[in-house]
């Protein structure tokens, strides 16, 4: 077992309106600890000293619920590729850097709640705008009634793997939610079940994304490299195509009804 000393510089902000600042903590880290276990140790110590622990979101600690997320030394979820904050382990820092800066996911679409906790409910509202297939609970067709080519289904799954953590937004210079939105549009748009609503889905979800205050995509590609699930930026191109097609269809329809 090997331990080493690090200094954390953590963003502390008591409430959305309070002034925030970095505070420093010295920690002895064990290489086998996860990053969040290291913060747990800091927090237990803070409580015993009568201070408020660092607030941060987390739940599954298995890299799947998407609840954790912080910017570590300037990178969303830290230095290890394809890894959420909760799956990051301290052995990544064994050879430095020994100064670690920790900040919340900052974005206009993610208002700060406290310390490292932000409000990502904008993502839920984007889904509300059309991130589903409208079927009723009841007796749909037999599941094997419509074969789906494996390649199509696999690609839908690639997109569906998004965990909704928001790292893409935090990494994007424009704080765009394009990768998140595109992943859902692609997942559902690839499947035969998702065709009926495909144009409306793209139009409504993109509009909701804009309304939530997320920026637009200017092809930096930072989102893909920050994404713990490796969601591809190619999906953004698919979303854009669906969106353009949807707008054109809407235009055509409007034009036709005008003519009648």
């Amino acid at each position: 077992m090997s331990t080493f000393n690090i200094t954390l510089h953590v963003w502390r902000q008591k409430s959305p309106t309070a002034q925030g600042k970095f505070e420093d903590y010295k920690v002895e880290a064990d290489e086998h600890m996860s990053f969040l276990e290291m913060l747990d140790v800091v927090n237990e110590d803070l409580i015993e000293k009568g201070k408020e622990p660092i607030a941060f979101d987390h739940d599954c600690r298995e890299g799947i619920c998407g609840m954790c997320g912080m910017v570590i030394n300037g990178e969303a979820h830290g230095p290890q590729k394809l890894t959420t904050t909760c799956q990051l382990h301290m052995r990544q820092f064994k050879n430095g850097p020994f100064d670690i800066w920790i900040e919340p996911f900052r974005a206009a679409g993610f208002p700060l709640v406290k310390d490292l906790v932000v409000d990502r409910s904008g993502f839920d509202r984007i889904i509300q705008a059309g991130g589903y297939i409208s079927i009723r609970t009841g007796a749909p067709l037999d599941a094997n009634a419509t074969p789906i080519p494996k390649a199509v289904s696999d690609m839908a799954m690639d997109a569906a793997e998004c965990i909704g953590c928001g790292a893409c937004v935090a990494a994007c210079p424009n704080a765009s939610a394009s990768l998140f939105t595109a992943a859902k549009i692609t997942h559902l748009g690839l499947l035969p079940q998702g065709q009926a609503e495909r144009p409306e889905r793209a139009r409504n979800m993109v509009t909701a994304m804009d309304n939530e205050g997320f920026g637009s995509c200017t092809n930096h590609g930072e989102c893909e490299s920050a994404c713990p699930k490796g969601i591809s930026v190619d999906f953004i191109a698919r979303m854009n195509r669906d969106f353009v097609k949807a707008s054109a269809t809407a235009y055509d329809r409007a034009a036709k009804s005008d003519g009648d």
Binding site: H32, R61, Q80, Q128
Partner: protein, 652 residues
């Protein structure tokens, strides 16, 4: 109290019971549904599916979760898959076989009619999920793929890579958000239910804490549905998400809902072992690994500290293969777990020393890699191997994995009848929060199935039937007397919650945060009420728990205030409830003088295997709260088996 299971009459053939039960049930006319308010606590598979389906039917639904989004419920973490009796593989599966396997797997401690319904509904779940866009794995021909899971003799498990729970939950979440957009469901996130409101004997609302602002808020309704998950975190370390807790269920119990079989907990054999005192949770490595991995420890204690490569083949003890030649490494979860414990108890554990001992066994893929080649192993388990390496820093391609059992699932839960209604009228429970379908042991890939069966297909009918039945009793009057948040009972419950928070925040000699006490409690429960239980151990635990509880009351330290986001306060309330539940678990385990499924009493064994006692213990233990947590009241629901005759589980 007489427990009425309200299951259909036993004279009706089992395969017709659910259909007949639905036909006999009362309906609520579409135009009337929006007059009824339903609270659903929880947005996992059970709660998410129930809230979406009830909203779609036209009821006014409020759904709550403590995470920042319903999509993050613990269901998201399920890896392996979901069972359904589709028989797409034509390998002899059927609803009856799934029913049979589940009753037997549960060691004859579940209600037959419930289990049959679960097996019957399993096929509808797959149809529903595919229609909703869940991208299950497929074969090259475009049809759905299946695998065999947990030693089952048919391939009935549907999966989506190693993320089945995620994809199923996202399906339910999307259906839920669709209803939010339609205005039928109000979704309230970052909100924790802290008590149940009971008016005139009926569940009529809940009290929540807004986790962002600390505000204590009353919510009233006509029906309350709890889908709040399991209580595995009573052990402190488990594979459950960090926030998983028993508070909603426990508070309902204190208000009169009986709690059934708390001692039935499942310990999963293949988890990554604990690395140090700081450890906050354990990570599951899918059961499927045992299909190709071989479990062993050194034969000699002096070899335990050596790197595995230096231990000669003849000095390796493949204990599962030796003891259970027929099943080998694929013995059921409880058997695999217990045997890992035995070899470590004998001092044959491997890996680093933590707290003075080595508690791990090897799961070795060297032979499989030699036989099949690394690419095939990578294709089968690549994701899991990567996850293992991220966590431990070791590559299972090069050196054996180290694994040890960890708490994974809780079969016990709130007692419910066939309608999933608790002993408080108007209070329902679904998913892992209830006790219903798995008896004393759950089969792999059956929890997701139960959560979705309850949420999509059972609760929407039975909640409607309850409302319809109440309406028919009170023709010409309001079905449920109108109550507002100013009702004295609501206000009293609100006040109780506020006082409890004040008490938690003002311990006389504050010293440690809640994690300290939770960790200590977990150690007691894990060692005394874990994989193997004894009378002495349980009695010892029942002496230790109240002592630790007294320490908690005296020394709990919470910094910050109650009027803001305060994760320490959230945790403290949950830990306090774990104390009481943990005590009940030990009492239940002590009372059940037999071994069955996940409950293994060392005194009750034959050749090291569980010895069930059907003559004296073929019943559900449903515990009532008496005000004194040391003296709960035991109620028994007898179990009879008309279809699957009780037999001994044997894997030798």
């Amino acid at each position: 109290m007489e427990l009425r299971s309200n299951e259909p009459d036993k004279s009706i053939p089992i395969e017709q019971r659910w259909t007949k039960h639905k036909m006999a049930g009362k309906l609520v006319a579409p135009a009337n549904r929006r007059k009824y308010e339903i609270i659903v606590v929880g947005s996992g598979l059970a709660g998410g599916a129930a809230a979406a389906s009830l909203g779609e039917l036209g009821y006014k639904v409020k759904c709550f979760c403590f995470q920042d989004s319903p999509r993050r419920a613990h269901s998201i973490a399920a890896q392996g898959g979901i069972n359904a009796a589709k028989n797409y593989q034509n390998d002899g599966d059927s609803v009856y076989r799934l029913f049979y396997d589940t009753v037997k797997g549960g060691d004859f401690r579940a209600r037959e009619a419930n289990v049959y319904r679960l097996a019957e509904l399993s096929v509808n779940i797959i149809d529903q999920c595919v229609a909703a866009g869940v991208p299950f794995a497929r074969e090259y021909g475009g049809l759905l793929a299946n695998r065999s899971f947990g030693g089952a003799q048919v391939s009935r498990t549907f999966y989506a890579r190693g993320q089945t729970g995620q994809q199923l939950l996202l399906g339910a979440y999307q259906a839920l958000e669709r209803q939010v957009a339609a205005g039928t469901v109000e979704m309230i996130t970052r909100s924790e239910m802290l008590d149940l409101v009971v008016v005139d004997g009926k569940a009529r609302g809940i009290i929540t804490r807004n986790l962002k602002t600390g505000e204590i808020e009353p919510h009233v309704a006509d029906v309350v549905v709890l889908c709040t998950g399991g209580y595995g975190n009573v052990f402190f370390l488990s594979t459950n998400a960090m926030g998983s807790n028993c508070t909603a269920a426990w508070r309902a119990h204190r208000k009169g809902a009986l709690f059934a079989n708390p001692c039935y907990t499942q310990i999963h054999p293949t988890c990554i072992p604990r690395a140090g005192e700081y450890q906050g949770k354990l990570t599951l490595m899918s059961e499927s690994l045992r299909n190709d991995g071989r479990v062993w420890v050194p034969r000699k204690k002096e070899d335990c500290g050596k790197p595995p490569e230096q231990i000669a083949e003849k000095d390796r003890y493949y204990y599962l293969e030796e003891k259970y030649p027929a099943f080998g490494n694929l013995v059921p979860r409880d058997v695999a777990s217990r045997n890992a414990m035995y070899v470590c108890d004998e001092g044959l554990g491997v890996g680093p020393v933590v707290d003075g001992e080595r508690r791990a066994v090897y799961l070795d893929f060297a032979d499989a890699i030699k036989r099949l080649g690394e690419p095939i192993i990578r294709e089968r388990y690549g994701n899991l191997f990567d996850m293992y390496e991220r966590i431990t820093g070791e590559s299972p391609y090069k050196t054996p994995m180290r694994i040890y059992p960890a708490t994974h699932y809780t079969m016990g839960g709130i007692w419910v009848d066939y309608n999933l209604m608790t002993t408080i009228p108007g209070l329902f429970a679904g998913g892992e929060a209830n006790f219903s379908d798995h008896g004393a042991n759950r089969l792999g890939a059956s929890a997701l199935m139960q959560g979705l069966a309850d949420g999509y297909f059972v609760l929407p009918y039975t909640v409607g039937n309850y409302i319809g039945t109440e309406a028919s009793k009170r023709i010409g009057q309001r079905t449920f007397p109108e109550i507002g948040t100013d009702h004295p009972e609501v206000q009293k419950t609100l006040k109780d919650v506020k006082e409890r928070i004040k008490r938690l925040m003002s311990a006389p000699e504050p010293k440690y945060g809640p994690d300290y006490f939770h960790r200590e409690l977990g150690k007691i429960i894990w060692t005394k009420c874990g994989m193997s239980r004894t009378k002495e151990g349980l009695e010892e635990a029942l002496r230790q728990i109240p002592k630790l509880r007294a320490e908690f009351d005296k020394h709990l330290k919470i910094t910050g205030t109650g009027e803001e986001l305060n994760q320490t306060l959230e945790k403290a309330g949950r830990v306090e409830d774990f104390f009481e539940l943990g005590q009940l678990m030990c009492i239940d385990a002590l009372t059940r003088e037999e071994s069955c499924g996940g409950h293994f009493r060392a005194e009750h064994e034959e050749d090291g295997e569980a010895a069930r006692d059907d003559d004296n213990f073929a019943f559900v233990s449903a515990w009532g709260y008496t005000g004194d947590t040391a003296k709960p009241e035991l109620n028994k629901e007898p179990l009879t088996f008309d279809y699957v005759k009780p037999s001994k589980r044997s894997y030798k």
